[in-house]
Structures are given as structure tokens and as C-alpha cells.
């Protein structure tokens, strides 16, 4: 029971190891389980160890309290970088993206129980795994464009693979999705009412198999088919496809505005407002990232996102991330002053810079952990 001993040393991730399943609980409920550097390091260590341990068949990931995980601990990150050390930020993302890749190309199934908030880094710690169980308490969002960041943690891989152009919508607007919507669009693989979670967990602990078909059939036994609420955005897929398929952010906004010409629609006007409030730079690099991600494997996506996030941390092209964190997380005045302030001022060449290598010494592209020595399941191979 070595792992339960170490879990006492590092109480931010709790480990239950009483069966062939390992249950990992993110345990920073006051911070909505926001991922700290220690948590990410610990998760990485555990996942690597479980892969070598033939007694472990399955990994369950869940959160303590009302959140699964509200994202990376950005507030702590910004404090570090304000001390003028963008490399500390880069180090955080290097670890986090490595974990994301390991989860995406993992040799054993991961079941994430998304009974609460799943945002940003929380999505990265779950969506790449084989099974994602949503509940009536699930709230999903990728809110990065409002913070001056972009949907990272491999989001350019999984958002771009949602039906039609729903991924562009979710990634650019930060729109919140409930459990039913997550299931409908494929972010979740199952929907289980929270009341049945304890039973599901118990059942998963005795399955003693890594076979995804068997595990899926166990989860199926507790599953329900939720219905989309009347006002669900998922019922607006036709408008989303028409508008969010446009080539540029400007064209997306004018397509939405054209929709309004025919008929007043609160949801559309709110969407336009949200886009106009977000960081123009963030919107443009996010759109480009999702579009490139659609044609790349998960590894390539993370390598590219790592380049992008290093540029964001370094703040040479734009300091919107620091401004966004100030306005939303620190001063909480909710009134960020973006720079450049308008979409048309964010030129293509400005956007290009986020996708280029950092021209600074001692910086290297993200090196993905090698996966060739493990026999990967088919669903993982297909993501490479």
C-alpha cells in the first residue's frame, strides 16, 4: 500500500487503492480543485506508476466537493509570473500538457466522474481519458478567451472534433454546458445521476478488467438518457454551424449579426456580446488553434499549444492574459482593458507569432513522453 502512504504526504490528491481500480480524488475543494503544480506532478507520477503496475486495471478520477476541477490554478501562476519569471509559468504548462498527453495516449482506461464544475484544465484532465461520466451537477466550460488565454490542455484536439462547428462556439464564447449537453456533443461518454455514483464506483472497483467494452457495459447499467432543456444551445446547431464555420472571427460576428436582421434572438445577441467582451487576441489565436487542431493528432496539438502558451506567458505580443487575470481573478472589476482593443488590430502576422517557436535560449518545444513501449488501446492509437 505504498501509494496510500504517499497520499498522506500529498493530500491534494487522495488515493484509494483497495482493488484493481485506483480512485484518485482531487482534494482542494475550497479552490474548486484548481490544479496546482503539486497536483499535476502527483497525478503524472501516479499515472506513470499505474501504467507499469499490472495490478492496476483502471483509473477513476473525481473531485472532492462541488467541483470536479475548475481548471489550472491561474491565480497562483500569475503571482509567479508577475515576479517576472514567465518560465515558471511555462514549467507549469509543460507538466500539465505532458499529463494531458499521457491521459490521451494511456494504456489503461480512465473514468472521470464529472459531478460538478469542469473547466479549462479540468477538461484537460478528463476529456482525453476513455470514459467521462456527466451528472445533473455537471457544468462544463472553456472560459479562457475571457481571461486573455486560449483553450489549451489539448482543447484544440477535442473541441475541433465536436459535431459541426460546436467546438468553435464552445471555445470562443466560453459558453457553459450542462451534463445533457456534454453527452449530446460527445464531451461526456455517459450520463449517470449523482445518486447512483457510489454504486457505479463500487461496481467499477470489482470489474478487474481493462477492456473498454466491459467497462462501458458496467457504466451503461447506471446510465440515464437525459433530455436537453428547452433553451439548450445544442438545439441551435444549425445557426452555430452557419456562423462559427466562417473563416475569421470578424466574419463569425457579422454572420451572427446577419442572423439578427431576420429576427430578434436573445441567445444570438448574448453570444455577440460575449464575443465582443473577450480578448480580441485570444479569440483570433483560439480560432486558429482549433482549426489547426482539427487536422492534427493530439500530440501535435499539445506541442503547438505549448508554443502558444509560452508566448502568452512571456507577454511579448500581448499582455492580455495578465490583464484578464487582474480584472477577473484579482481586482475582480470585470473590466479588462485588452490591447490590441479591436479585432481588426490583431493582424495575421501578430497571430502567426503565437504559432512560431520561441526565439529565446534554453527554450525547447514540448517533448512528449514516449508511448511506443506500451501497448496502447485502439482508441488511443487513433488519436496519435
Amino acid at each position: 500500500m505504498a501509494s496510500s502512504v504517499s497520499s498522506q504526504q500529498d493530500h491534494q490528491v487522495l488515493v484509494e487503492a483497495n482493488s484493481s481500480a485506483r480512485i484518485l480524488s482531487l482534494n482542494r475543494p475550497k479552490q474548486l480543485n484548481a490544479l496546482s503544480f503539486q497536483m499535476i506532478s502527483r497525478l503524472l507520477e501516479l499515472f506513470l506508476a499505474y501504467e507499469e503496475d499490472p495490478n492496476v486495471k483502471l483509473v477513476i478520477l473525481k473531485g472532492k466537493g462541488r467541483a470536479f476541477c475548475a481548471g489550472g490554478d491561474v491565480a497562483a501562476l500569475v503571482r509567479d509570473i508577475r515576479g517576472d519569471d514567465w518560465r515558471a509559468g511555462a514549467k507549469f504548462f509543460l507538466k500539465e500538457f505532458t499529463l494531458n498527453y499521457l491521459m490521451a495516449a494511456y494504456s489503461k482506461p480512465q473514468v472521470s466522474i464529472l459531478n460538478g464544475i469542469v473547466m479549462g484544465g479540468g477538461a484537460g484532465a478528463s476529456v482525453h481519458g476513455r470514459f467521462r461520466v456527466a451528472t445533473e451537477n455537471s457544468v462544463f466550460a472553456m472560459p479562457e478567451t475571457a481571461l486573455g488565454l486560449f483553450p489549451d490542455v489539448g482543447a484544440s484536439y477535442f473541441l475541433s472534433r465536436l459535431p459541426g462547428f460546436f467546438g468553435e462556439y464552445v471555445g470562443l464564447t466560453g459558453s457553459r454546458l450542462d451534463g445533457a449537453e456534454m453527452l449530446a456533443c460527445g464531451l461526456a461518454t455517459h450520463f449517470v445521476p449523482s445518486a447512483k455514483l457510489a454504486m457505479l464506483e463500487a461496481a467499477l472497483c470489482i470489474v478487474d478488467s481493462s477492456d473498454p467494452v466491459i467497462i462501458s457495459s458496467i457504466i451503461d447499467q447506471y446510465c440515464e438518457q437525459p433530455s436537453l432543456k428547452e433553451q439548450s444551445v445544442y438545439k441551435r446547431l444549425d445557426v452555430i454551424d452557419r456562423c462559427f464555420s466562417q473563416k475569421t472571427v470578424e466574419e463569425i460576428i457579422s454572420a451572427l449579426e446577419r442572423e439578427l436582421v431576420h429576427k430578434m434572438d436573445v441567445w444570438i445577441s448574448t453570444t455577440i456580446q460575449t464575443l465582443k467582451k473577450a480578448s480580441p487576441t485570444s479569440l483570433k489565436i483560439s480560432l486558429r488553434s482549433i482549426r489547426e487542431g482539427r487536422l492534427q493528432g493530439v500530440g501535435q496539438c499539445l506541442v503547438r499549444e505549448y508554443r502558444m502558451v509560452c508566448h502568452v506567458m512571456r507577454g511579448e505580443v500581448s499582455k492580455d492574459f495578465f490583464e484578464g487575470c487582474r480584472a477577473i481573478l484579482l481586482d475582480k472589476d470585470k473590466n479588462p482593458k485588452w490591447e490590441p482593443s479591436k479585432l481588426e488590430l490583431v493582424t495575421d502576422s501578430r497571430v502567426d507569432r503565437y504559432f512560431s517557436k520561441m526565439n529565446t535560449e534554453e527554450w525547447e518545444d514540448l517533448k512528449l513522453p514516449t508511448r511506443s513501449k506500451h501497448k496502447l488501446p485502439l482508441y488511443a492509437i487513433a488519436k496519435l
Partner: protein, 676 residues
């Protein structure tokens, strides 16, 4: 004995695992399968930045291409299917011809609604033209039918209005064409006349009483044939016809005629029949048209070169009918440019599939009980595929040059565009068919499945060697143009200028008597060898023609009789011109891994050109040197082997546009995939 034991063990495993009555056990079959698919990405590294390489190959509008790829992948109309856990898009070629045509049309409407064709006819300038090329190339990677259907409407019908028409035609038709308020086609070819456009038999006369032209199909061989769009969808057509004014034939002219009304009924005095099912391109509705004294208003003559006045007088600024005809057809080179470039992209698809497969498929063990050998680790397999990779890289750079030449066209560059586009169109499309055939065979039986694309693409693109100018005829025109250059330079005692013939002004290069590896890899030697062949063949061709003429034969007859030299010469010109573009592309790069690998590809391309039998036939290489060339080729192939995956990944073709055999072909064929 060992082998037999191993086989028995495998079979026993199969039998124990796969009891069909318990479905829960079936998935475990895959975990104990005798062969594992291992993605080549896990074992093959990239020694250079594939993104940089792609930028170099695509040359322009990379993000725009990706946007369009995504647009296709995210719509059900593009027939996405999951195989081996991945999504692939490709038309359902098992649909009937009528269904395929319907789907092609629906896809066009989808792209139209999303603004893909915005500015295709109404926007001017280099940027707009290059963007149009990029989109066209991306669409062609999905399916040839959609490309041709668009090509006919925008480049042939739209292009004819733009280039043959004048302002009032532009104002009247271009915007409506871009928005598909009308659907255009292009009726040039007849049953009796294809390449020889000047021989077509359709006749148009002018009725000054009504101010109308009367278009007529006088005989069966004059029926318009292969007219893309005519069978189902087109509402209007350009008609090529002899123009007869008061009993004088003024030669071929182009008119606009309506063939269907807005709801799709065929117009009076027009008869249309279907060309029927074809060996490919069944998403295009090719038709045949007969005109029964169809009347069109006088302004429907596309009058950029010649006009007819209201009272029926023929007016043209170009008096010589030969020149008039040439001036008339010159702008149609856009089609040839498109075909040449498209052929290169199809070769990329074929090679990406065949090489990815060769990096995952094994066959035969060298020693008993050893693992089987990866196909691409066989030198013979490398020799089959890697030179084609070099050829495709060479064609890419040459295609980029051709596009720029076209986009930056001036009246002075018309001749160069004509010669280069003829040469590249013919050579690229021939190469493409050869490459696809080799790739099909390299995929073995899997290459025969339509869903794996590589075999099917042959049927789809076979037509490229015929339409917009038969390849053989185009190559003859190249030789004739070179002949004219030579004669003109001699007559005026002037230096060669243009078409890359400047090397003719220098002393004749000498091939060293013993070729070393270092010499063979030297770009100066490679260029010298290719120039030597071109220069000598041009002289031989001119001499041969003049000898025929000396016997009193006409120049035309002499050309016909010297066809063998003409063929060898046009090939020599093309190889040298393509090579030159490769060298120029390489020269733009700073020293580094990218330049190194391109250097190897450039050498390989040159060496396979020099391996051509003409070098022995005409004695440019000794038998020993020819053997040295051959040896060097195998060496370069093996040096490029570690870069094979990176080189095909640099093509930038999204996985979804390749095929199941290029990825997890075991899973794609598993029993569980049958059950879906």
C-alpha cells in the same frame, strides 16, 4: 518445425479466443491478435520541421486550405465514415451516377452558402487568384468530380466570359455566375473534333433582320460532346462555332446560349443527351448538345477579339485568322494550370497512403522466427516508392512556379505560359498515373478497395491526360515551340532568351568519363547532364525536320515524320525545366536539415531523369556511367528512407483525406468494425 509450431499456437489462440456466442469476449481477440498495428509516428522521427516543409510545398494560403478542409470534414454532406477509430471523408462511389451527381451539387451549394466562392470571379489581383488556386486544390483532394464541376462553371464558363467577353458581358454575367444564379458550361469539343478546335463543324450565321445569331449543328459529328454540366444542371453554355458572315467563314468564335430555363427545362431548339457512366468522374453530368438553329441576341457574341456590327459586318482588329485564333484561346491556360497542379496533389495522396502503409505492413522474415520485415525496409520497395516521392517534390516546386507565372501573366509572357503549361500539364498528369499505379500495387490487395482511394484515383484522374489538350498533342506543341526558338535564334543570329534555353548560348557541357558519387550528387553536374540532352535533341530535331524539308516535304509533314525526336525533346525540355525549379526552391533555404533533405531529393530526381533510356540511346552516358547512376539511385533511396514519414507528412494532407489503409488497417478490418 518451429514455424509449424508457431502457426499452430496462433491458430489455437484464435480458436480459444473467438467463440462467437459470447460477444463480450470478442474484443479481447484484438489484444491477443497475431499482428499489432503500430502507428509509424511512434517509431519514425522527424529530422526537419514538417510545418516549414509544408509551407514550402503548398507555397501559399496554408491556413485557408486548412479552413476549407475543416469545412468539409465537419459536414455530413462530405460522407464522413469512421474506420479504425478515425474519421475519413470521401464520396460514396457506390452510389449510382445520378446520386453522385446530386451529392456533388449539394456539396457545391453547401460551400457556396458558406462563402467559399466569394470573389472567385468578381475579385481581381494576385492574392485573389492564388487563394482561388489554394481552395481549388483543397477541394480536389476530396474528390475530382467536385473540382471539375466547379472548374467548368468558374474557369471555363466564367473564364470565357472574363477573357473572351467585354464589359457588358462582365457586368451581366460574372456576379450571377459567382452566386450560382446561373449555372454555366462550356461547349467546345464535338464528337468529330477535340484537339483540333479549328475543325469544329457547328456553324453560326447572322440574321441582320432580327439582329440575332443562328447557331446550328449541321451533322451528327458536330454534336457537342463531353460537355460537363450539360446533362443535368447547366442553364447556360459557351458555344464554340464557325462564324459564317455572308458566305465567308471567319473561323471559330464563342457565343453565349441559354440551354435550360430557371426551373431546369431544356430550352426550345436544344436537344441534350447524357454521355452516360464513365470510368471515373461520375459526379459530373457530362452531356451532348445539338443546336437546331438556336437564335441568340447579337450581344451574345463574346467580342474581345472580333465583333459583328448590327448590319452584319465582320470587324476584327487582328486580320490574320491564325493570330486571331491564338489570341482567342490564349487565356484558357488557367485550365491547364489547374490540371497540372491537381495531378501533383493526387500523387501526394497516393504516396502518403502507400508509404504510410509500407511503414506498418510487414512481409516475410529473413530468418525463421525473426519478425517479418517492414515493407519499406526492403531496398526494392524503397526503389519503387522513394524516387516517386522525389518526383512529386520536384513537381510541387514546378507547379508553384507555373501558378506564379500564370498569375503574373502579361501579353509578353503568353508564349512562355503556353509552352510551360502544356509541358507541365502533360508530364505531371502522366507522372500522376504512373505514381498512382505504383502506389496501388505497393498497397497490394488493400489498394483495390475503393475506400482506400489510391486505386480508385486512377480512374478518377485518367481523364487528365486527355482534357484541356491531349498530352501527346501538347508535347508536340512544346517541341514545335522549341523548334521555332531555335530557327529564330539562328536566322537573326541572336542569343537564346526565355523558356530556360539560355544554356544553349554557353559551350556544350562535358560529362566526365568516370562518374563518382560526389559528381553524381552535384547539382551543377545534374544540370549539365539535363541541358546536354535538351540541347543535343533540339539540334537533332531541327536537323531532322530540315532534312525532310530538303526532300521537298512541307514543314507540317516534316514535324509529323520526326515525331520520335519531338517526343524525346519535349521530355528533355520538361525534365530540365522542372529540375531548374527544384534547384531554385532549394536555393531559397538557409543551411539546415530542411535544405539537406531537399538536396537528397533533388539529386534523386535528377538521377532518375538521367537514368532515362535517352541518355544511352543518344550516347550521352557510357554504359559504365549509366550503371553508376543506377547504383547511386539505390544509395540515395536508402538515405531518404528514414525521412519517408516526414516527407509524406509534409504534404499537409489531413488524415481524413487519406484512407483507412494509411492508418490502423487491422482495426479498420476487425470483426467489431463489421458489426457496426
Amino acid at each position: 518445425m518451429d514455424r509449424a509450431f508457431q502457426r499452430t499456437k496462433i491458430l489455437t489462440n484464435h480458436l480459444l479466443q473467438s467463440s462467437p456466442s459470447s460477444p463480450a469476449q470478442i474484443p479481447s481477440l484484438s489484444s491477443n491478435a497475431c499482428l499489432d498495428y503500430s502507428p509509424p509516428e511512434l517509431s519514425e522521427g522527424y529530422a526537419f520541421d514538417i510545418k516549414e516543409m509544408r509551407q514550402l510545398l503548398d507555397g501559399h494560403h496554408v491556413a485557408d486550405r486548412d479552413w476549407l478542409f475543416g469545412m468539409m470534414m465537419q459536414s455530413k454532406l462530405f460522407n464522413p465514415r469512421v474506420r479504425g477509430g478515425k474519421v475519413f471523408v470521401s464520396p460514396d462511389y457506390n452510389q449510382s451516377m445520378e446520386q453522385q451527381r446530386e451529392m456533388t451539387w449539394k456539396r457545391i451549394v453547401y460551400l457556396l452558402e458558406r462563402g467559399v466562392f466569394k470573389g472567385w470571379l468578381t475579385e481581381k489581383g494576385e492574392e485573389a487568384e492564388m487563394r482561388k488556386f489554394a481552395y481549388f486544390e483543397a477541394l480536389g483532394l476530396f474528390d475530382h468530380s467536385i473540382a471539375i464541376k466547379l472548374g467548368v462553371h468558374f474557369f471555363l464558363w466564367g473564364g470565357a466570359i472574363q477573357f473572351f467577353g467585354t464589359k457588358h458581358h462582365h457586368d451581366k454575367w460574372l456576379r450571377d455566375t459567382e452566386n450560382y444564379l446561373i449555372k454555366g458550361c462550356f461547349a467546345m469539343t464535338e464528337l468529330g473534333h477535340g484537339s483540333n478546335v479549328r475543325g469544329i463543324e457547328t456553324v453560326t450565321t447572322y440574321d441582320s433582320n432580327t439582329g440575332e445569331f443562328v447557331i446550328n449543328t449541321p451533322c451528327e459529328s458536330a454534336q457537342k460532346y463531353w460537355i460537363g454540366g450539360a446533362a443535368n444542371h447547366a442553364t447556360h453554355t459557351i458555344v464554340f462555332s464557325q462564324l459564317n458572315i455572308n458566305g465567308t467563314n471567319q473561323g471559330v468564335h464563342a457565343f453565349i446560349a441559354q440551354i435550360r430555363d430557371a426551373v431546369g427545362n431544356v430550352c426550345p431548339n436544344i436537344r441534350i443527351a447524357d454521355c452516360g457512366h464513365k470510368i471515373g468522374l461520375n459526379g459530373v453530368d457530362n452531356g451532348r448538345i445539338w443546336f437546331d438553329n438556336v437564335r441568340v441576341p447579337r450581344e451574345n457574341l463574346l467580342n474581345s477579339v472580333a465583333d459583328v456590327s448590327a448590319d452584319g459586318k465582320y470587324l476584327s482588329s487582328i486580320k490574320d485568322p491564325d493570330q486571331r485564333f491564338a489570341a482567342f484561346l490564349a487565356p484558357l491556360t488557367a485550365g491547364r494550370v489547374n490540371i497540372a497542379v491537381s495531378a501533383v496533389y493526387q500523387s501526394k495522396v497516393g504516396l502518403a497512403i502507400a508509404i504510410r502503409y509500407a511503414l506498418t505492413r510487414r512481409a516475410f522474415s529473413v530468418k525463421p522466427n525473426e519478425p517479418e520485415v517492414l515493407l519499406l525496409d526492403y531496398p526494392s520497395h524503397q526503389r519503387r516508392l522513394v524516387p516517386l516521392l522525389a518526383k512529386t517534390y520536384a513537381m510541387s516546386f514546378a507547379a508553384n512556379y507555373l501558378k506564379m507565372l500564370y498569375v503574373k501573366r502579361t501579353p509578353q509572357s503568353n508564349k512562355t505560359i503556353h509552352v510551360v503549361s502544356s509541358s507541365f500539364k502533360a508530364v505531371f498528369t502522366w507522372n500522376n498515373m504512373q505514381i498512382l499505379q505504383e502506389c496501388r500495387e505497393a498497397c497490394g490487395g488493400q489498394g483495390l478497395k475503393t475506400e482506400n482511394r489510391v486505386g480508385h484515383l486512377k480512374g478518377e484522374h485518367d481523364v487528365q491526360s486527355t482534357f484541356e489538350g491531349d498530352n501527346n498533342i501538347l508535347m508536340q506543341q512544346v517541341s514545335k515551340a522549341l523548334f521555332a526558338e531555335y530557327v529564330a535564334a539562328q536566322k537573326k543570329n541572336k542569343a537564346f532568351k526565355g523558356l530556360g534555353l539560355e544554356h544553349m548560348n554557353k559551350p556544350c557541357p562535358v560529362i566526365p568519363s568516370q562518374l563518382t558519387s560526389a559528381t553524381l550528387r552535384c547539382s551543377q553536374f545534374q544540370m549539365d547532364a539535363l541541358c546536354l540532352r535538351e540541347r543535343d535533341l533540339l539540334k537533332c530535331f531541327v536537323l531532322d525536320v530540315s532534312q525532310h524539308q530538303a526532300k521537298g516535304e512541307s514543314k507540317e509533314h516534316a514535324f509529323i515524320m520526326s515525331y520520335q525526336l519531338a517526343e524525346d525533346l519535349s521530355r528533355a525540355f520538361s525534365d530540365r525545366a522542372i529540375f531548374q525549379k527544384f534547384v531554385e526552391a532549394e536555393a531559397t533555404l538557409a543551411a539546415g536539415s530542411l535544405k539537406d533533405v531537399l538536396g537528397m531529393l533533388r539529386s534523386l530526381y535528377a538521377l532518375i531523369c538521367i537514368e532515362d533510356v535517352a541518355f544511352l540511346r543518344y550516347g550521352y552516358l557510357s554504359v559504365d556511367n549509366a550503371a553508376a547512376v543506377r547504383r547511386e539511385i539505390t544509395k540515395v533511396c536508402s538515405e531518404l528512407r528514414p525521412h519517408a514519414l516526414a516527407l509524406v507528412s509534409s504534404f499537409g494532407i489531413p488524415d481524413a483525406f487519406l484512407s483507412p489503409v494509411a492508418f490502423n488497417w487491422i482495426d479498420a478490418n476487425s470483426w467489431s468494425s463489421v458489426q457496426h
